[in-house]
């Protein structure tokens, strides 16, 4: 809990006793930046090697790894509904990750972009996006897909690329 200046890259201390950090409760396993103050009080390097002290990604989904709409792909577009459904919990009461997702979707955005920018594991993103759709916060445009074998679609892409100088 005591903020120390910069985590030392552990010079492999296998015998270091485990960090006494029960208060490290916030679940933000996907942020790459090291959290200040997350170091143990003594001068030991981080005890477990990479990721050992962070929750697994699917903690955020209560362990669910499937059951998600298989039509949600990397490129699927997501947009926020103009107004949450009546009776829905205020956005402020949702988890920070869900709030971050909703905040990103004012304009249509792909699931891949949400995953990269929040940032969240893609598998986790799909599940949370599916939850937010089920609860009425988001529209997930799984049916807005193009047939990749449609010559007209391919021609449109060709025309569009040709305008790139």
């Amino acid at each position: 809990m005591i903020p120390r200046d910069g985590p030392e890259p552990a010079d492999s201390e296998p015998a270091g006793h485990s960090p006494a950090g029960p208060a490290r409760a916030r679940i933000r396993p996907f942020l790459n930046a090291p959290r200040p103050g997350s170091q143990p009080t003594a001068g030991h390097g981080p005890g477990p090697p990479d990721g050992g002290e962070r929750p697994r990604p699917f903690v955020l989904t209560s362990g669910r790894v499937d059951g998600v709409d298989p039509n949600i792909c990397l490129e699927t577009q997501v947009s926020v509904r103009p107004a949450p459904p009546p009776g829905a919990a205020p956005v402020e009461t949702l988890t920070p990750e869900m709030q971050a997702i909703i905040a990103m979707c004012a304009e249509p955005v792909s699931v891949a972009e949400i995953s990269a920018r929040v940032p969240l594991h893609f598998g986790v993103t799909k599940i949370l996006v599916g939850d937010l759709r089920a609860n009425g916060y988001l529209d997930v445009h799984t049916t807005d897909v193009a047939n990749p074998h449609d010559p007209e679609t391919i021609l449109r892409v060709i025309r569009g690329l040709r305008t790139i100088a």
Binding site: E75, P82, F122, T153
Partner: protein, 205 residues
């Protein structure tokens, strides 16, 4: 009262664009991210995806494939084609153990661009095999680092043993126009296949 922060309901009423995608495949450090970045209108982003990994050793075909999951980083970018169409480019590792990821990625893709470094072709064999069997239109794009090719394109074609109708082109991953032209080669191939004027596979009898 809770909605002061939210945009006007009409503000986001525009229909979302229809997404289309092209897979950018290739081995380690052949220039996938550079390629995506050269043409994308956003700086390339990275997403991490957990993928089922089937580890099939080429040396031990008798061994049962072990299934595990692995986390793979994927770089991607996008290009707005017109008001209703947006092209996504997904860069994916070329190793055979990521084959399951290619399934996910190739589904619904317009085609694939396989980037190779002419100095180390073996990186891309698995992905070339995969796209051939999957029937996905693809182009082999030899990244000319500093304008230099270690082998000429005919030698690359011979070494990869790709079919006659698979274009093998040289390009520069740093040059937007070069990337664009390579994508256009791919799309022309996809178009000719979609239009059905493709001579089926082998030589006519």
């Amino acid at each position: 009262m809770d909605f002061v922060q939210s945009p006007e309901p009409g503000a986001s009423s525009a229909a979302p664009p229809i997404p289309v995608k092209i897979v950018i495949a290739g081995g380690f450090a052949v220039g996938k991210t550079t390629t995506v970045g050269a043409i994308s209108e956003i700086a390339p982003l990275t997403t991490e995806a957990e993928m089922t990994e089937v580890s099939v050793g080429v040396d031990d075909p008798g061994q049962r494939p072990g299934k595990t999951t692995t986390t793979v980083a994927m770089d991607f970018g996008c290009v707005t084609i017109d008001a209703g169409l947006k092209l996504y480019l997904f860069g994916t590792p070329g190793q055979s153990r990521f084959g399951f990821m290619w399934n996910d990625l190739s589904y619904g893709a317009l085609g694939a661009m396989v980037i190779v470094d002419s100095g180390r072709l073996d990186d891309c064999y698995p992905v070339v095999d995969y796209f051939e069997h999957a029937g996905l239109p693809f182009v082999v794009a030899v990244n000319a680092f500093d304008g230099q090719l270690k082998h000429d394109l005919d030698a690359v074609r011979w070494a990869l043993a790709v079919r006659e109708d698979v274009p093998v082109v040289a390009f520069d991953a740093r040059e937007r126009r070069s990337v664009r032209d390579t994508l256009l080669v791919l799309l022309e191939l996809a178009l000719s296949r979609a239009a059905g004027d493709q001579v089926p596979a082998r030589t006519p009898h």
